[in-house]
Amino acid sequence: MMASVRAELARLARWPTAWVLCGTWLLLNLLFGYLFNYLSYRSNDGGGFAEPGASPAILLAQMMPENAPVTMVQGMPMFGGALVLILGAVAIGSGYGWGTWKTVFTTGPRRLVAIGGTLGALGIVLAGLVVVTFGLDLLASYGIAVAESQPVTWPGLPEVAQGLGAALLICGMWLAAGVLLGTLARGPALAVGLGLVWSLVVENLLRGVAGLLGPLERLTDVLPGTAAGSLVGALGALPQSDPNGTPGVTTTIGGTAAVVLLGAYLLAFVVGTMVLTARRDVTS
């Protein structure tokens, strides 16, 4: 298995698409987590990217180092998740288009070992991305605290662990969803399209009509996006409904339930990928 992980890491490390996606996430995280909020705070009109009525004091508090673990994860239920979903879908799906799965599967490792290597390598990439994101967030928040002459209070170890764990679970779930879609579609384009439509459109539409249809409400409570948003909400991020809130963040279900749901989705997506890979014919 380790040979497969090393092989996949070697090729992912040289893949421009992976760097573009990770770079995009880091940039968006800084823009929406700090830069736009800071500009909004400095303009002192409560406008910019915040809802009307947003409190500048809350805005500033969200950008302090103490709050970095929560700020890091608040963008993950939506665009962070969407980006890692794309990464998972193209990492797996492209292999069918290029014919590299066929080449790898005839090289020697069992299919499950080969796909396990890819999942392991993607997990390592994700862990690295989360750590780098947190590091950049700490730097940005420190810079803002110094610029605004605020006392610098670093987050406690439990909060850091919670934030990193939540980030890994949320992004891991979306990454695994992308991997499953890439495997199902045996190509990147359809997988990415379906994944984005689901994560950015369908879940929101379902939530929109759930108020009209009672049974649908129970369904929307257990959707992947709801679970991801609820976990971030449970960590203390303000929900979308709050003027200072973040899109995708919700308090629909409790933190523990969200963790269980996300874990279940992650496991289901990984098992689904493994089963499909092991059983299906490789014809491309």
Binding site: S4, A7, A10, V104, T106
Partner: protein, 297 residues
Amino acid sequence: MSDDIVVTHHLTKRYGDRLAVDGVSLTVRRGEVYGFLGPNGAGKTTTLRLLLGLVRPTSGGATVLGHPPGSPAALSRVGALVEGPGFYPYLSGRENLRVLARYAGLDRVAVEAALEQVDLTDRAADRFKSYSLGMKQRLGVAAALLGESDLLVLDEPTNGLDPAGMADMRDLIRAVADSGQTVLLSSHLLGEVQQICDRVGVISAGRLLTENTVADLRGQESLLVRADPLPAAEAVAGRVLGTDRVSRVDGALRLSAGAERAAELTRALVLADVAVREIRPQARTLEEVFFEMTEVS
């Protein structure tokens, strides 16, 4: 260990209503170059995919080096290029092979040796997507040559190669076979197969039509004689070889005899005042045999 490297029993693969492979039973023996012939869509590639475990049979079975197709025990001793090379376009040829070597637990020395074998060392640092079709094909063969395998499965390895590249590939395949490896070669280029294969299997519409040595398929060599007057030539040839071994074909004589009888016949014809315009050995080409078989089927 058995001398039968690949054995299939009524191997069948059905896609919906279409039988891609229909009860194929073939045997590839140790150390031979086995040519798998058939027109496009005959089922060659599907059969090779079945032997590599990429697709599963609908019925029937096979063993590769004594193991089930696609099992790690079999694949660790098989090198394969199936239906064109599949590589990461953003990596160089060398990096692609290194990724595969990591999967197979091989070192960089094996990568350089494989690049050297297909004469791709000079362009190994270039990205795969910048390669010509022929270079991509050679990299695919290099991937198949990685490590020390007992069986090399090559699906149309000369696709996209120029004439010099095709000749190089033929030499490479013969050298691989001479080193003791068994080669299973799928191709629709019959001249290529005739030159390098020891035995062939002919497949059409999913069914194996025959399996034999190239020499047996082409049949016994004959001599073609053009001479004047032809009746006198026919009489002389009949005296020398026996009348049952002489026949007229398109204003010439076809004699059931090998090239070693040509000098004797020429002398007899000249002594009988027959003007010999042409005398040459003639055998059916594999192409002629192939068309006869596939047209009949």
